[in-house]
Symmetry: C2
C-alpha cells in the first residue's frame, strides 16, 4: 500500500471539500522514526508556489516528521495570504502530531492563481491526523490525484528493508520535474546526506527525463523520507539502485496516464558525443508538436525527428543520422531507408531510436503524443 | 499582384503534377534588371534542405537573376540524388532564361524525406519560363501554397518605387523562420549590402517573432530581389521601414492562416531588462502548450503565463509581474487582480500584455492557440 509499506510510517487520505468534483483531497504521511531523515528536489521553475517556498526551508536541515499534500488548488500566485495558508497548514499538522512546524513539508496541486480555502484545509488536517493508519497509503495516494485517472504507487523490496512510493501527475510533466508530486518512504537506515545524493541521482535519470508536454509546473516536489525502522543500513549503491527503480516505475506510470495521450513514446538517443547531447536531442524530439501530432495519427514521420534534432546544439551531422521507429530503420545517413509503411504505430508503446554516430553516450526520454484529448482536457482544466 | 508590382519583374505559376491534390505547384520569379541585387535569410535549423544548401551558395555574391519555388515536396533528407534535383532545376531555369545557374535561387516546400520527381520539376520549369508575364505574381503566389488556405501577398508603395511580396506558411512557423517561403521584390535602386542589412533588420522583428508552434522547418527562406528599374534610390532607413512593413504584413497573414488555429495571439512584453529578455519571455509563453490550449477553450488562464515566464532566464520577479488579457489586468504583482470572467476571449484576436517591471525594453511575439484542428491537420499531413 504505497508509502505505508516500509515500517515506521502512517498515512491518511481524507475529503475536506477542496475539489469541486468531490473525493479525497488531503493526504498526510507521518514518519514515526526512529530516524526522520528527509530529502527533496523541487521544480526548477523560477515562479515557485507557496508550498515550494515553504518546503525548501523545511528540508534544508535534512529532517522532516511529516508531509501534508492537498489537491484542489496549487496555492501559487496567491501572495502573502497564500503563504500564510501554507504556514497555517504546517502549524496545524505540527499541533496535531506534537512536532515542530519546521519539520512539516507541504505540497499543493491544482489550479494556480486562486486562494485555497484555509478553513477547509485546516479541518482536513485535523481529520487526517485522526485517520492516520499503518495501511493509510492507499487513501493518501488517491487524495493527491487531480486529473489522474488512477492512483500511482510503487513498492521496491530490499534485503530486510523496503521503499514505498506514491505519485500524481498527468500533464505538465516536464524537465526539472512538472506538476508532479511524489512521496517516497523507506525504513532503511540512510543518513540525510546519502538520502539526498541518492534522490538526486535517481530523479536525474527518471523524473527529469519524463517530458510529456514540455511545460514546467510551479509546484513539483519529489520527497523521500527515511525512518530507519528496519534497523538495516544498505550500501549506498544498493539503496540508490532501488530508489531509482521506484522512481522509474512511478515515472512510467505518470507517462502512461498523461492527459489525453494515446501513445507512450520512449526516445532512445545513442552514440551521442556526451550524455548532455543525448538528453538535448531526445528532449527536442519529445517537445516537437509536429512529431507528436504525427504519432497520434500513426504516421512514422521521421523527417520531423531530424528537423527537431537540427534545432539542438548537439554534436552531429544531419546527413549521417540513422532513425529507427518500432524496430524499422526508416532513415539511414539522413536519407530514406525502409518504407515507412513497415512501421506499425497502432500499439500504445512507441520506440524511437536515434543513432547520432558522434560518440558513446546515450539517454532515454519518455514522452507522449499530442492528441485531440490533450487539447480538450487542457482547454477545460478545472480540477 | 504581389511580386510583379515593382517594375522589372516577371513571374509565373504553373501546374507540373507535384501536388497530389493537383493545382499550381511551381513558381518562377525573374528579375529583368537593370540591377540584380539579392539578399536572403535562411532557416537556422542545422538540418537544411537541399534547396537551402544550394541557395546559400547562390546568394553569397549578392546577385540573383531568378528564383524558382516548388510546393509538393521539400527535397530534404533526400541525399545526393535530391541535391542533384535542385541543381538540375537551377540549370533548367538558367538555360530557359539564358542566365548562369549560379544566379538561380531554388526553394522547395512540402513533405520531407521523399524524392522530388525530377522530370516533373524540369517540365514545370519549361512551362513556367514560357508563361512568364508582368502580371504573373498572382499565379506565383498560388503555386507556392501547401496547406495554406489563401495566397499571401503584399504591396508597399514608396515615393516612385515599390515593394511587392508573396509568402506561404501555415504551421511550423517558428523562430529563425519556419516552413515559410517568402519572396520580396523591389524596383528601388538598393545596393546589395544595404539590401542584406535591410532584410535582416526587417526579418528580425517580423518573421523571427512569429512562433506559431515552436517547430523550426528545414526549408525556410526569405528572399528579396532588387531590380533598380525605378531609377530611384531611397534613403536606407526609408527603405528598411517599407521592407519591414511588407514583412510585418506577410507575417500577420501567415499567423492568420496558421494550421487549425482559432486565435491570433499577440504577446507584448514590456519593461524588460533587455530586448533579448522580452523576446525570450514572449516566446516562452508562445510555446507553452497548456497556455495555448487554454486560449483555444477561451480560458484566460494567466497562471500558465507566469509558469511559462518562470522557465526563462530573463530578469524578473514572478511576484512583481502584471498580466493583462484583452485589456483586463488579471494579475498584478503576481497575484489575482480583476476577475477572469471579465476577459472576453471569443474574438479571434487576443492581446496579452506582460509588464516585467525590470527595465525599458520591449518586444512582441505573434502566435496561435493549440486546437483540435491543429492536431488533426498535423496528424494527417500529406501535401
Amino acid at each position: 500500500m504505497s508509502v505505508t509499506v516500509p515500517a515506521g510510517f502512517e498515512a491518511a487520505g481524507v475529503e475536506c471539500g477542496l475539489k469541486q468534483s468531490g473525493g479525497l483531497d488531503l493526504a498526510l504521511v507521518v514518519n514515526r522514526g526512529p530516524q526522520q531523515s528527509a530529502a527533496a528536489v523541487f521544480t526548477s521553475n523560477r515562479a515557485k508556489a507557496n508550498p515550494i517556498l515553504w518546503s525548501q526551508q523545511v528540508v534544508a536541515d535534512g529532517t522532516a516528521a511529516a508531509i501534508v499534500l492537498n489537491s484542489g488548488g496549487a496555492n501559487c500566485f496567491t501572495g502573502p495570504q497564500g503563504f500564510q495558508t501554507t504556514h497555517a497548514t504546517a502549524e496545524a499538522v505540527a499541533e496535531a502530531l506534537q512536532v515542530s512546524a519546521g519539520d512539516v513539508l507541504v505540497c499543493s496541486t491544482g489550479l494556480i492563481g486562486e486562494q485555497l480555502d484555509r478553513d477547509k484545509v485546516l479541518a482536513g488536517v485535523t481529520a487526517a491526523a485522526g485517520a492516520l493508519a499503518d495501511g493509510g497509503g492507499a487513501d493518501a495516494a488517491r487524495a493527491i490525484m487531480t486529473t489522474d485517472s488512477v492512483p500511482k504507487t510503487t513498492v521496491v523490496e530490499g534485503d530486510g528493508w523496503s521503499i514505498g512510493g506514491m505519485a500524481k501527475g498527468a500533464g505538465m510533466l516536464a524537465p526539472g520535474l512538472a506538476t508532479m508530486l511524489v512521496v517516497l518512504t523507506t525504513d532503511a537506515d540512510v543518513e540525510t546526506q546519502d538520502l539526498d545524493r541518492a534522490l538526486r541521482r535517481a530523479a536525474r535519470v527518471t523524473f527529469d527525463r519524463l517530458d510529456s508536454d514540455g511545460c514546467m509546473s510551479t509546484n513539483d516536489q519529489v520527497t523521500v523520507l527515511a525512518s530507519g525502522a528496519s534497523g538495516i543500513r544498505p550500501a549506498f549503491d544498493e539503496f540508490t539502485e532501488a530508489l531509482t527503480r521506484a522512481c522509474d516505475d512511478l515515472a512510467a506510470q505518470l507517462q502512461a496516464d498523461a492527459e489525453g495521450a494515446s501513445h507512450d513514446i520512449v526516445i532512445e538517443v545513442r552514440a551521442a558525443h556526451t550524455e548532455h547531447d543525448a538528453v538535448e536531442v531526445g528532449r527536442s524530439v519529445a517537445r516537437n508538436n509536429l512529431f507528436k501530432a504525427a504519432v497520434f495519427g500513426n504516421d512514422p514521420n521521421w523527417g520531423r525527428v531530424l528537423a527537431a534534432i537540427g534545432t539542438t546544439h548537439a554534436v552531429f551531422d544531419p546527413y549521417r543520422v540513422d532513425v529507427w521507429m518500432n524496430g524499422v530503420r526508416v532513415c539511414s545517413e539522413g536519407q530514406p531507408d525502409q518504407p515507412r509503411d513497415l512501421v506499425d504505430l497502432t500499439p500504445r508503446r512507441m520506440d524511437v531510436l536515434i543513432d547520432l554516430k558522434s560518440g558513446t553516450a546515450s539517454a532515454s526520454i519518455r514522452t507522449n503524443d499530442l492528441t485531440h484529448d490533450y487539447v480538450h482536457e487542457n482547454s477545460a482544466y478545472s480540477s
